[in-house]
Amino acid sequence: MAEAVNEEPARIGGGGLTDTEVENNKKNTMVEQQGSTLLRRLEISVAEAEKRTGKNTVNMQETFTMYLIETRLIDVMTEGHNPAPETLWRRYSEFELLRNYLLVTYPFIVVPPLPEKRAEFVWHKLSADNMDPDFVERRRVGLENFLLRVASHSVLSNDKILYGFLTEEHGWKQLVYDTGFQAKADSRIKALSATFRVKNPDRRFTDMRHYSDELQSITSQLLRVRARVADRLYGVYKVHGNYGRVFSEWSAIEKDMGDGLQSAGHHMDAYAASVDDILEEEEHYADQLKEYLFYAEALRAVCRKHELIQYELETASADLISKKQQREELATGIVRTFSFKGMTNKLFGQETPEQREARLSLLEEQIVQGEVTVKEKTSECREYVNGAWVDMQRFKEQKDRDLREALVSYAVMQISMCKKGIQVWTNAKECFQKILSSVLMNTDQIFVG
């Protein structure tokens, strides 16, 4: 149920404090607990999902889902109190906004992905409808997972915009836009899709990028094949349900076979029905794979960004070198490299000493600027490499852990499915065995029923 945002005084930055004070409070809280992630201090959950209707940006009616985010300060709870959680409602597009902001602000971090916007890799019985309750539920879980991952990340969890997302229902969007990240976002997108060649690529990042491509390709292939297998399995189980119907009808006309057939039929119905739960569970496995499909994209983006920075550094360096060479040429009069100006000078005569001076001082300015740029780019690159490498390692460890767990849980699901199968068919076999094959000695017993 929707709750109004609480105005309880216990809330950090509760009503009555000025905006600056609110800001300071937050900063101080963060500083106090530096080194520990947000999740250690704050309990976060996406508790519910609710359908809403409203007017969209082009003033048309639309239906969308809102998700209820609940947060609770952990230290408040340990004192024996159990206060009600702070709540606010967010829709998917706001989660997207948060993520885009994080992507731009921390380009060297492999930012956790959101659950898919539209249902993909569906096997045909599974609904591809965004309004389908199962889809909404799985998305709720995925959104919660996203928040937990972000809030437990050593770098991302300190972000103020993240905190605002969790605690400030209204006005948060404006806060995000005020950071000016939009401009960076546009240029980032352009840069990531551009093609450029780096002269001295960092081998580690190249390898990582290849890996991210492979991971993307393999997980999407796996998801597709799994969906097809699920589809077929569904068919096999469901056809057995027909046995139930026919056995039941047949048992009505058979003496001595009736009971055995009837009860066997019930087990066949149970068998057919059991596949729904089996495949529902498998969707969780699919969701885990999907998360890493999308993570692969994020990893790739980090590598590409590095390439871009590297390229910019290389370009700036090359530019600086070229400018220095030009200065040397002007100063000494020795032409080392071909230049158009040199050619025209030869053809049309030398320039005046004044012109030469002007050009020289321009070059000097540019060189100074260039050196600053190169310095900046170099340190940017270095910082980026350090930050990215650390996070990529963290990501790898997390991925290995998570995927191994996913594979183990997949095995557990298969085991459960086998156990159910053994149960059903053992029961069915008992029923079939009950079918008596007694000899009809009396011809009067030919009569039906």
Binding site: G235, V236, Y243, D400, L407, I415, C418, W425, F432, T443
Partner: protein
């Protein structure tokens, strides 16, 4: 027969030690031949007893159908099957026969049996023509399926207390190809057979007036049974089809995990493990599907054909009664030779009674047979499914165990 029981466990390489014992009990037959016959009989019995309706009686005739061969003549290509008979019955001159028969010979036999015993439930033959589109008449699977069905047909006949003593059956089993051809030419000519058919049609058009209640009940049962068994047959065929599609997709699944393991380091173990599990389960699934095709499908299909036979049997019984009723009416209305007609009517009346009794007797035999066959086919299928899931369970549990022990190893290493 009882004398041979002792020798039935003899192994071929004990020929000479047993020679002395046997000589005393048998006629001047080559010792080796006797032993060969006995030991073959032993294996035959164990193989065929599974199919035989075991009422505790000792079987004295064993028939097998095997060894399909294709024959090419100027006009046609056809398949013949080897029919092997071993028997101790005195009606047979020899104890062993080997002949080659083609489908139309079986078809002929069935016709003759139905002719001689119109109200006995003659076992069904596999279909004459294959309706289902693309199946090659000479494909290995088709021939094998047909061979098995023909084998079952002859065995059902051999097991039938009355049908197995039919002269036509004996000729079928023993005559050489040219002998059978000339034997077939005997009996009522084409014209008289046509006449019979016309009469049969006329009788069925006339219809029977006073059908006894029990046969009406039987007919209702047969209608219902026929519907149910056809449905079961369809459902089972559908399951086989769905499973084949499932197998197709499953085959693509394991390789993806293997491919993935090529990009990983820490995850190589679990990924390869999962791939391996899926491959094993695939094999088990294929085996289970084959079992369905070999056991349940043919049984259900046979009873679909059976239900058609039952309908035909009831029709023939009705026709016999209709013929009697017609003549009886004629007695009352037509002023013909009363005595001659009366004699004919008495014969027909006997015929009706005989037909009814034959059917009643055979009906209970058939029902018992049907229940036994259906029950054992389904029990076997259920058991196979249990085995299948147990095998797959073991596969995944082994994997899980390996991961859990690896997990605790890692924990130890990192601490």
């Amino acid at each position: 027969m009882s004398g041979t029981d002792a020798e039935s466990t003899v192994l071929p390489n004990q020929t000479h030690t047993m020679a002395a014992d046997i000589c005393g009990q048998t006629l001047d037959l080559d010792e080796d031949d006797d032993l060969e016959v006995f030991s073959k009989q032993a294996t035959h019995r164990s193989a065929l007893e599974l199919e035989a309706d075991d009422e505790g009686d000792l079987k004295d005739i064993f028939v097998t159908v095997d060894n399909p061969e294709s024959h090419i003549t100027a006009i046609e290509t056809f398949i013949t099957y080897r029919v092997l008979t071993k028997t101790t019955r005195s009606e047979f001159d020899n104890s062993e026969y080997e002949v080659r028969r083609r489908y139309q010979d079986f078809f002929w036999l069935k016709g003759k049996l139905e002719e001689a015993h119109p109200t006995l439930i003659v076992p069904p033959l596999p279909e004459k023509f294959v309706v289902k589109g693309m199946v090659e008449r000479f494909s290995g699977d088709f021939i094998e399926t047909r061979r098995k069905a023909l084998h079952r047909f002859l065995n059902h006949v051999a097991d039938h207390a009355i049908l197995s003593f039919s002269e036509d059956f004996k000729v079928f089993l023993t005559a050489q190809v040219w002998e059978l051809a000339s034997y077939k030419k005997q009996g009522p000519g084409l014209l008289s057979r046509m006449g019979e058919t016309v009469r049969a049609v006329a009788n069925s058009v006339r219809g029977v007036k006073n059908r006894p209640e029990e046969f009406t009940a039987m007919q209702l049962y047969v209608e219902a049974f026929s519907n149910k068994i056809i449905s079961l047959d369809k459902v089972t065929q559908r399951i086989v089809k769905e499973q084949k599609e499932y197998l197709g997709e499953l085959k693509e699944y394991a390789p993806v995990y293997t491919l993935w393991s090529g990009s990983e380091d820490t995850l190589v173990g679990p990924l390869k493990g999962v791939a391996d599990c899926i491959e094993r389960c695939w094999k088990e699934t294929e085996e289970q599907d084959n079992h369905l095709t070999d056991t349940l499908v043919p049984t259900l299909h046979e009873y679909v054909l059976c239900s058609e036979s039952l309908k035909a049997v009831l029709r023939r019984r009705d026709n016999i009664q209709a013929e009697f009723e017609a003549k009886n009416e004629a007695l009352a209305t037509k002023k013909v030779d009363q005595d001659a007609l009366k004699e004919e009517i008495d014969k027909l009346e006997d015929r009706v009674e005989w037909a009814n009794n034959a059917l009643k007797g055979d009906w209970s035999r058939w029902q018992k047979c049907m229940r036994g066959d259906i029950k054992s086919a389904f029990v076997s299928t259920a058991q196979k499914n249990v085995d299948y899931y147990e095998k797959c369970l073991a596969v995944w549990e082994t994997f899980l165990l390996s991961q859990r022990s690896e997990g605790s190893e890692d924990a130890d290493n990192s601490s």
